[in-house]
């Protein structure tokens, strides 16, 4: 295996995801369906590189690479890609690979392009408790599920628009059926809620006896995201939230979930050194 740094592996992964996005875009512009095999292979290779990169990073920090915004974005992209490789192969959801490649490319490239996100002074955020590390990994994995849910929701909205506006030709014709997208969305929503609930439960076991050790903004923002998804799921199951509104909610909520990562990460930063100390050589 080439002796590359973690970031070099992650750049390679981002390039693969971007290649998948370009392949899909070119096919759509030409009015053709992209090769499912080519898309799957591109994402699989990107996923492999990203796994290696995160593994190298994990060994270096001796834990899950979830210590700063860069790593959180990378892990979310990795979770979405890993889910696609399972769901895409099983359910053969048309265009899901294209949208996954787009999401993964955006998350990985943006995080790589902003060096400040990876320049945070790392602390031992998980202490010596492996359950807390598992809690964090599971929470981020659930965000990956919600990322994929946002993609299928966006596809639902596009399909709904095409059917309502009676523009069903062109690349709209490659989208899956509206009912299939709705069913997949509800399943992903259920899976994401279950994973995040377990994650928060594990976190609460640690947090309740030691409330002073966890930043309140982090706790509140995470609970707000979890609660919003739970409410969306409950309303959907009760038949009180039509499929289109659920799709919009899932797209908006994923944006909110990504924003909450900043709150999660800011809680980990050690207090900045005094200004005088920084300027003193």
């Amino acid at each position: 295996m080439p002796n590359l740094t973690d970031r070099q592996w992650l750049w390679l992964a981002a390039a693969c995801y971007l290649a998948g996005f370009v392949i899909g875009t070119v096919a759509l512009v030409r009015g053709r369906r992209h090769s499912r095999m080519a898309m799957f292979a591109t994402l699989a290779v990107g996923y492999l590189f990203q796994t290696i990169g995160l593994g190298v990073r994990g060994r270096a920090v001796q834990g899950c690479p979830l210590g700063n915004t860069f790593e959180l974005f990378q892990f979310t992209a990795w979770s979405s890609a890993s889910l696609f490789l399972v769901i895409g192969a099983t359910f053969r959801v048309s265009l899901l690979g294209y949208f996954t490649a787009m999401l993964a490319a955006v998350l990985t490239l943006v995080s790589l392009a902003i060096p400040e996100w990876d320049a945070t002074a790392r602390t031992h955020v998980f202490g010596a408790n492996p359950w807390i590390e598992f809690h964090a990994a599971l929470a981020l994995f659930s965000y990956g599920v919600f990322g994929l849910l946002a993609l299928t929701s966006a596809m639902f909205l596009l399909r709904n628009y095409s059917l309502k506006s009676k523009h069903v030709g062109g690349w709209f014709s490659f989208l899956p059926s509206i009912l299939d997208l709705d069913h997949i969305g509800v399943r992903l929503l259920g899976a994401g809620v279950v994973l995040l609930t377990i994650s928060l439960g594990l976190g609460a076991v640690y947090w309740v006896p030691h409330p002073a050790t966890v930043d309140l903004v982090k706790v509140l923002s995470t609970i707000a995201v979890w609660l919003a998804y739970v409410v969306a799921l409950a309303l959907r199951l009760a038949g009180a939230l039509p499929a289109r509104r659920l799709a919009w909610a899932c797209v908006v909520l994923f944006g909110a979930a990504l924003l909450s990562l900043f709150a999660v990460n800011s809680s980990r930063h050690p207090p900045p050194p005094p200004a005088a100390a920084v300027s003193t050589p």
Binding site: L163, K166, V168, G169, G239, P242
Partner: protein, 360 residues
């Protein structure tokens, strides 16, 4: 008419013969067998396949001597009781690479009345299978037909000639697939007994719809149509209450005013919030209030909408024909480049020439 030892096509199609004439040209399987029997001993006709559909009667074969096609034409006219001049007026003939290009265009659906339709591909396959079973397909026909099937698939998958549905009924089915994904669990309600509604209902049945129910303002007509379609009949007055029990509602009545109101549709979708409802309004005046389209999770298409989509698909197919014909010309020239020289080198009347057999 044709050079000796060449691949030929002789026949008539909807391009050259009106329906009344095509009816007289149409062959039954028994007549095809009789024609083969008559032509069997004919000197110089080495191979023969007959493509007989509602739109064309065409003979493909290998002529190994002068006058073969005239004998074939004479035998066909005598068998069908058609005047030679009638056939001559509609006759189309091609030889060599042109004949291969024609067969390839036919198999790819480029020569069909409805460009891109795929039924013709199966019919060409049947013609080849019959020729093989009847012992009249030899090395040239084996080679030509097998390559034609391969190239026709290439044309259909690498161009847009077969994309999109071009009939109202099939467009409705395609839209239903865009909504429901598959039709095997879908319940269809047909309102009225209009012809286009019946065709659409049949299209849904043929694509595996779970149930079909018919309701008409005249109970007897509903019962009769339901019996004919193998469907259930629903009393007209129960229609509003039973809308929610169906996934697709096809309106095809001659009612003077809308029979499905926005209030009916809203009540139906409230009763099934997780399931979309697809209304297809084929009636004039319309059976379904246009405001129904504004409801959440409800999709409404009327006759104009479906016709526009069909027309757009048809135009898109036509736009792809030129590209498809370029591929056809290239592939036909390639194939004739392989077959032609060996066929020309074969001695006249040599049915089992080894250079030709090596083509297969």
């Amino acid at each position: 008419m044709s050079d000796p030892a060449t691949f030929f096509m002789l026949g008539a199609s909807h391009h050259s013969a009106p329906l009344a004439l095509r009816e007289r040209f149409a062959l039954t399987p028994e007549k095809i067998a009789a024609l083969r029997a008559r032509l069997g001993p004919a000197a110089g006709l080495r191979e023969l396949a007959v493509l007989n559909t509602c739109n064309r009667v065409e003979f493909y074969g290998v002529a190994g001597a002068p006058g073969v096609l005239a004998r074939l034409e004479g035998a066909f006219c005598a068998l069908q009781g058609v005047a030679a001049e009638d056939f001559a007026a509609a006759r189309r003939h091609a030889a060599g690479g042109d004949a291969i290009a024609h067969l390839l265009a036919v198999a790819a659906g480029l020569d069909s009345q409805m460009v891109g339709e795929n039924e013709i591909f199966g019919q060409v396959k049947d013609a080849y299978a019959e020729a093989s079973a009847g012992g009249t397909a030899g090395p040239v026909l084996h080679r030509v037909f097998q390559k034609v099937f391969q190239h026709a698939k290439h044309v259909r998958t690498h161009t847009g000639v077969a994309e999109g549905q071009v009939s109202v009924a099939n467009v409705a089915v395609e839209l239903a697939l865009n909504i429901f994904g598959k039709l095997d669990g879908v319940r269809v309600l047909l309102l009225g007994a209009g012809e286009i509604g019946e065709k659409t209902a049949k299209a849904f049945q043929s694509r595996g719809a779970a149930t079909l129910t018919v309701a008409s303002r005249t109970a007897e007509r509903a019962t009769a149509l339901a019996a004919g379609l193998g469907a259930a009949a629903l009393p007209w007055e129960l229609v509003p209450a039973r809308l929610a029990a169906h996934d697709i509602v096809v309106g095809s009545t001659a009612a003077p005013a809308a029979v499905v109101t926005t209030a009916h549709a809203a009540a139906a979708i409230r009763a099934r919030p997780a399931q979309p409802l697809f209304f297809i309004d084929l009636a004039l005046p319309r059976d379904i209030e246009p405001a129904v389209a504004g409801l959440e999770n409800v999709f409404l298409y009327n006759l104009d909408d479906l016709a526009k989509i069909a027309e757009a698909n048809r135009a898109a197919r036509e736009a792809e024909v030129a590209r498809a014909r370029t591929i056809v010309a290239e592939k036909a020239a390639q194939l004739w480049g392989q077959i032609g020289p060996r066929l020309a080198a074969a001695p006249q009347g040599a049915a089992g020439d080894s250079s030709i057999e090596s083509l297969t």
